[in-house]
């Protein structure tokens, strides 16, 4: 079966990610002085890094499951908007999100002020609890979207059958929802674990000090404080190994898919119609909405004040960021589709771990490595935007693949044999069988990729050309020159641009649901 979809493109794209990272790592290593310092304090850093990432991943997913379940079985005014906003926290620049979170949960935040009115002491956010809270704020919405898609993939016919049989919610959970969760949850856990593993500024700021040193901060220190490239390379490698091992483990325990096909009919939930269920679902949705919207609201309010003070260069940066996002989204789709098709047909999901490495690699290491590689041949500055687009696409790849693979698996399970029997292959396979089925997922993946690209500062700082700045870079520059209000305005613009691009793609995809 040489004609299988993604049989060539999949390994090629995964291999490209691997080579991209490896080349950077080798380049950094080639400039290193040996031997490299690595001592007991590094193990403490590793322990903290892994521990906060585990906690963040588990709590994000645990919170996301009931929220996704509630969103899957309820229709209400504003549901579409809420589902779109679920993409928002994830793409906010770190500092903007942190300030938003602190406006609500901080020492002088809304909650502490309210408590103060009743004579109660303020809540203390700085510490492990703050790190985890922020990571849940960033990643719970993402987990919700991933799990929501799992719920929506359960064929409507099965719920109709359940309704006709009058099965109680517990039985429905055991027979329909639990097997789906076992498919979706390990991947979501692995993804969020890897994201939190590379956290740096969030962990440091909300962790309250050097107790909260992560591997990424140690890499940063090695590059700019010690200029010890060997140490930077070793630490980057350690980060890759931890992420790769965790991802491979999580994906390896994925159970094989249960064959369940439907006729793609609209969903009506005959179970879960009682008042208790409604109230419970409303409670979960309300809690999630408050948790997300309060900090986002704080960002929007302070941004609205600053909008009028933005210099014109912010608009130029907006344009730059837009086309970098479009370029990286195209790259992302070109890479993600064959990889997802390839993984969707393989028996075990462990190969997906390779794409996760793109996320686990330190952006500073990738940037420095490629700087070293490009510098002898050309001026790295002239490659600033292509490199940014490429790295953005690579970092979004694991998200896109995670979103697409379950859909691909399902499509191949349902229609693979029929397609083979009918001799549908190559481009026709994509056009007739795969793309229509995965369109909602593709829209979501592309939207997330575009939004991430807009929000990412990434490698661009090392290659930065003063004439062409991206929007996040421009925002940081404003902030670094006391222009806090104008920076808030730029942050709001950034949020709007990211959400706008996300909405366009996601809506294109979700249009197919109906």
């Amino acid at each position: 079966m040489a004609q299988r979809a993604g049989a060539i493109g999949g390994p090629v794209a995964s291999g490209a990610v691997f080579v991209l990272i490896l080349a950077a790592l080798v380049a950094v290593t080639s400039k290193a002085d040996w031997p490299v310092r690595f001592d007991a304090s590094d193990w403490a850093v590793l322990r903290f890094t892994v521990w906060q990432a585990v906690l963040s991943a588990v709590l994000s997913v645990a919170f996301a499951i009931p929220v996704a379940r509630a969103l899957a079985r309820r229709r209400f005014a504003g549901r579409g908007a809420l589902v779109t906003l679920l993409g928002a926290p994830f793409i906010l620049p770190v500092i903007v999100a942190v300030l938003g979170i602190l406006t609500v949960f901080g020492r002088a935040g809304w909650i502490s002020q309210t408590l103060g009115n009743f004579g109660l002491p303020p809540i203390s956010i700085y510490g492990l609890q703050g790190v985890v809270l922020a990571h849940v704020f960033f990643n719970m919405p993402l987990a919700t979207r991933l799990i929501l898609q799992g719920w929506q993939a359960i064929p409507a016919e099965q719920y109709r059958l359940v309704g006709q049989l009058g099965l109680p919610a517990r039985t429905v959970f055991q027979t329909l929802e639990w097997p789906m969760l076992r498919q979706v949850v390990p991947g979501a856990l692995a993804l969020i674990f890897v994201i939190c593993l590379t956290s740096f500024a969030v962990a440091l700021t909300l962790g309250g000090g050097p107790r909260a040193t992560t591997i990424e901060l140690a890499i940063y220190q090695a590059f700019r404080f010690d200029f010890d490239l060997g140490r930077a390379a070793i630490l980057s490698l350690l980060q890759l190994v931890v992420a790769g091992t965790a991802a491979a483990l999580a994906l390896w325990i994925l159970p094989p898919l249960v064959l369940q096909s439907g006729l793609d009919r609209p969903l009506v939930r005959w179970d879960a119609r009682g008042l208790t269920h409604r109230l419970l679902d409303a409670g979960w949705i309300g809690a999630a909405a408050l948790f997300l919207l309060l900090p986002l609201g704080a960002v929007a309010v302070s941004g609205a004040i600053g909008l009028g003070q933005m210099p014109s260069s912010v608009w130029a940066a907006t344009w730059t960021s837009t086309w970098v996002a479009v370029l990286s989204t195209v790259l992302l789709v070109v890479m993600a589709l064959p990889v997802a098709a390839w993984l969707g047909q393989s028996a075990k999901g462990s190969a997906e771990a390779i794409t996760l490495l793109g996320l686990a690699a330190s952006p500073l290491m990738i940037g420095t490595g490629w700087f070293i590689l490009i510098y002898p041949v050309a001026n790295p500055q002239s490659f600033a935007l292509p490199v940014t687009a490429m790295v953005n696409a690579m970092m979004a790849l694991p998200f896109a693949v995670r979103i697409l693979v379950p859909g691909m698996r399902q499509s191949f399970a349902d229609y693979g044999r029929l397609s083979r029997a009918l001799g549908v292959k190559g481009f026709a396979m994509w056009r007739i069988v795969l793309l229509p089925r995965i369109r909602p997922r593709l829209g979501f993946a592309a939207g997330l990729g575009a939004a991430m690209s807009v929000g990412d500062l990434g490698v661009v700082t090392l290659f930065a050309d003063p004439e062409v700045a991206t929007l996040p870079l421009q925002m940081y520059r404003l902030m670094g020159s006391y222009r806090t209000e104008a920076a808030s305005g730029a942050a709001l613009l950034l949020l709007a641009l990211a959400l706008g691009l996300f909405w366009v793609c996601d809506n294109w995809g979700r249009h197919a649901e109906r």
Partner: protein
């Protein structure tokens, strides 16, 4: 279309290049931004030099040095502007810099006699607070208070490293004890200055590590007199920002011309209200109105480049040990 435009731009650029020499100056990011000194300095220098002055922004001071080390002797940079005294020793060690012959009537609180680097501005580190509170008079009083401060991580931030040197210069071997006492006053440590300052403006922190000149920004640019810097009686550590010429430059005369221009009024008068630091040579017109309201520390602290390089790693370990508990 895009391609055509790019080609045209490249052709024009190379045509212009054939006539006018180019001077490449690597500097930190906020120097080149629209509201930093970069654009005005470029316009002022290009009026007289008959050259094309190009600024290249690269992170902050430490990132600048790391970039230079990556590029080595093949660097396109002619001048590097924006290192500070804590980085000078490491910068000299690279052997990439050439000596200069610039002399000026510096208005620095210390005498300047470095043969490689020319200072262009300076400031004192200080804790900035809102004027509705009475600030502590020194580090010990701060440690005894309930005040919460936001500081920057010395591993990732230049002012953060400055604070480390400040405590070291003021207290020497007692520094670890001071840090241990301060640890419950440190609300949090951030990656860079922007994050800390943002926390302070949000009202999260009572005081933030910044500069004595920070209140001038609020006063002059925002007409807001509600911020002040706390004078500490053990003295304030200084940051002197410098520029140097690369030995590998193809336009050494132009680079010298730039360094000489840097200490004249044309450059120095731009600094106070764009970089919000003190000029290295006070211009003929004096400092802008508002700067007279700033505190002037009774004692200036500064470790020499060699001292600062030799105590750096030990001071970092002391800081980590005190705050990681």
């Amino acid at each position: 279309m895009k391609y055509l435009m790019t080609t045209a731009a490249v052709l024009c650029a190379s045509a212009a290049w054939a006539e006018t020499p180019v001077l490449k100056v690597y500097t930190y990011d906020s120097f080149v931004s629209d509201w930093g000194p970069g654009p005005a300095v470029e316009a002022a220098f290009e009026e007289t030099c008959g050259c094309d002055l190009q600024f290249v922004g690269a992170g902050d001071g430490a990132a600048l040095l790391a970039r230079l080390k990556l590029e080595g002797a093949r660097s396109e940079a002619d001048v590097v502007l924006g290192l500070d005294t804590n980085l000078i020793a490491a910068a000299k060690e690279t052997g990439l810099f050439a000596t200069h012959s610039v002399t000026a009537d510096y208005t620095l609180p210390v005498t300047w006699a470095d043969d490689t680097f020319v200072p262009f501005d300076w400031g004192y580190f200080a804790f900035v607070h809102n004027t509705d509170m009475t600030p502590p008079a020194n580090f010990r009083a701060l440690a005894d208070s309930d005040l919460q401060i936001a500081i920057q991580d010395p591993r990732s931030s230049t002012p953060g490293l400055g604070l480390l040197m400040w405590v070291k210069a003021a207290y020497g071997d007692e520094a670890p004890a001071i840090w241990a006492d301060l640890s419950d006053n440190v609300l949090t440590v951030t990656k860079g200055w922007s994050e800390s300052y943002g926390l302070f403006l949000e009202g999260e922190a009572d005081m933030v590590l910044s500069y004595t000149t920070s209140p001038a920004y609020h006063l002059i640019a925002e007409e807001d007199a509600s911020k002040a810097a706390a004078p500490f009686d053990e003295g304030h550590y200084m940051q002197i920002e410098v520029a140097g010429k690369l030995a590998s430059t193809q336009v050494p005369d132009l680079a010298d011309q730039f360094l000489a221009f840097m200490v004249t009024d044309g450059f120095q008068s731009i600094i106070p209200t764009t970089n919000w630091m003190y000029p290295a040579v006070t211009p003929a017109g004096g400092l802008p109105e508002g700067f007279e309201t700033l505190i002037t520390p009774e004692k200036s602290l500064l470790l020499s480049p060699e001292e600062s390089a030799s105590v750096r790693d030990a001071a970092l370990d002391e800081w980590l040990n005190a705050l990681a508990r």
